[in-house]
Subunit: 107 residues, 2 copies
DNA sequence: TTAAGTACCTTGCGATACAAGGTATTCATA
DNA sequence: TATGAATACCTTGTATCGCAAGGTACTTAA
């Protein structure tokens, strides 16, 4: 059975949205994001996260700043840019649309 | 801006779920599915749908039967198998989990 | 017999999640 | 001072999947 595969497929496209939702609330560095998404029942791997953050940065949706850590090397804290907030608003709309679609199909 | 791309990414993983939701209600052939999903605000292309249906069939989640058409060649009507219903129930759970995740991240 | 419509399917491409592996910095300890 | 562990960032290779484009086959009507 490929249910696990499908399940991960369902989560796939949601990742970018979820990460931006998280960053809307507070700046985070990679391990923050992994942990907080995990607490919200969404698993994300390092090898997935770093390229995704780089892409969002390259597209101008995220910025970052280095912050010293009390333990270990400095951390890259990512923040939503203005463009990022704008894009996220559109993704909110897309999410509502998906909600609507699923509700229609379930009714 | 890559919002359109992200939007389609968000829909990506949902397609399989939406198609199975649709088939839970009634047997459909390809053009039925495309049209009904369209009515529910979800766009799906032929080149996407056929391989997906074949895969679900191969995995034993769907079956099909040929039915004559009053206009044109016969149609392949797909139906959920018992395994399909079972898998769909698990996807329902996954969907609830994603709902929960997004709600947590939005709060 | 030919053209249009309908239906099913395949191929090639781009995007992306993931596993595995790699580099660099910090700090504690031998 | 040297070394090992912990932390943090990043890259590479693979598999999967949606999509655009193109192809095959059957039916009906002109």
């Amino acid at each position: 059975m490929n249910t696990d595969n499908t399940k991960s497929q369902m989560r796939k496209g949601m990742l970018e949205y979820c990460i931006m939702l998280l960053l809307r609330q507070q700046p985070c560095y990679a391990n923050d994001i992994i942990q907080k998404l995990h607490e919200a029942d969404m698993i994300v791997m390092e090898g997935t996260l770093y390229p995704l953050l780089s892409r969002l940065k390259r597209d101008g949706l995220l910025g970052y700043e280095w912050r010293e850590s009390t333990q270990g090397p400095p951390r890259k804290y990512y923040v939503l840019t203005d463009d990022g907030h704008e894009a996220l608003a559109q993704l909110d709309a897309s999410w509502e649309e998906i909600l609507r679609t699923v509700n229609i199909l379930k009714s």
